[in-house]
Amino acid sequence: MVSKAETGPQESPREKFIIAARRKKILAKKCSLCGHLMLATVYCCEKCSSREYATLELEGIGKVVTYTIQAVAPEGFEDAGSYAWVVFSVNGTDLRVSGFLPGVISPAALPIGSSVRVSDYSPTHGLLLQKV
């Protein structure tokens, strides 16, 4: 499930997160002092404020925690059809991430607890998800 990160040192944390997402991964950090796991875009440990950490790539697969189906979409998403904005927990961790799941028409199609996975990162629609 976990592999060492393969991003280069020159990118920002958000750029690294996006590069990993394009490989269907979630980039995370594990605090070297307290072991807290957080998204790689957070600069300092949320628990102990340490800046020493190991970078990890997690498989971008998880379970839906909550979501909405947007009927009135913000700018840039008008052409996206019926879609869900989803919060999911990454399998095997307490880490939660949000993403864009296209093609969801009704709540019956996406019970809480459904499995989703990261499929790509779009410059216009962000972290792309698909149902597993």
Binding site: T66, Y67, I69, Q70, A71, V72, P74, Y83, V87, S98
Partner: protein, 386 residues
Amino acid sequence: MPNKVCVLGAGSTKYGKLNEGIIEIALDASIDAINSAGITPKDIQAGYISNVFGVSDKQVHMAPVIMSNLGLPGVPGLTIESACGSGSIMFREAYANIAAGFYDCILGLGVEKITHTGTIQSTTLFSYCSDFFYEGGNGASFPGLFASIARSYMAKYKASEEDLASVAVKNHENGILNPKAHVRKKITIDDVLKSPIVASPLKLYDCCPFSDGASAVILCNEDFAKKSGRPFVEVIGSGRGASSAAVQGRDDITTIPSTIAAATQAYKMAGITAKDIDFAEVHDCFTIAEIIDIEDLGFFKKGTGANAVREGSTSRTGEIPINPSGGLKSKGHPIGATGIGQIVEVFEQLTGKADQRTIRDAEIALTHNFGATGASAAVHIFKRAE
């Protein structure tokens, strides 16, 4: 020992779709508050201004422009932004400056002008208040974020869409009595359930409107207030809280940690508990928000808020009246002004100026206002001066 802080005057424009420019509505509310306090502009030693989307009406650096047009070009102003919580968070900073003795008298003014941008542009601008990399940038609007919170709450506590609708029905009943409310219209549970879906499970009538408006208060120390000889209210509790900016960062999506932190501080400062509050103005940007608020503020146990609203415990004559002004839902939500608008309602209630909305025998009231999905929050407690 910090100075006691009082509210000596309060004023507001009507909330809704306003034709005047942002500076004009700001000045109208300011003059209203100055008249209410019985002071003159030269009594004001500083201006604290809350605003979010001034750039959409071609004005940033709002505070000096407002102070200059009030005829006070030499009086320092400061503009504060904290999304939908800007008003109360600005009030907290003004409060702290009176308490610390830097000033005797401050104008606290909240203002917003947004309706000219239209629904899609407004929805987009509001989405910039989210943690955009994870939320707005992935397609979530603000109704969408609260809809995800609602779905989580409904699953955990078995609340229904009718429960959510009962918040809207109650707040519209109150707003009908408020001459400055944006949406003065009686609605039924059925009206809410049949209104168009905005972001499931939230429908149009679960959502507050986009509003223009301005509200202002005059803050001062106790000596200043007493010398005026006019009715005033004392600020007896003040608290600030913070939560993870993104919904995904919260262990429990059915509670807002910043509300709990701010309320805990405010109750402790006031030396009271939730049971001592006679009524409250809370942040009901969406119906689900009010249900979570009244639990997090300690009025009802976790998971029982929906039932309390449905049974009438939060109506104007209920156990703890919530949003007698009509709340954001009916009175409206000009986001830079909303937190101050709540304090205007408290001032009017506690000084006998609330007319048909009056909560009988009220002496202590609470305001609760947060930014975005609760990333920032402030709670204040007020007492009618003896």
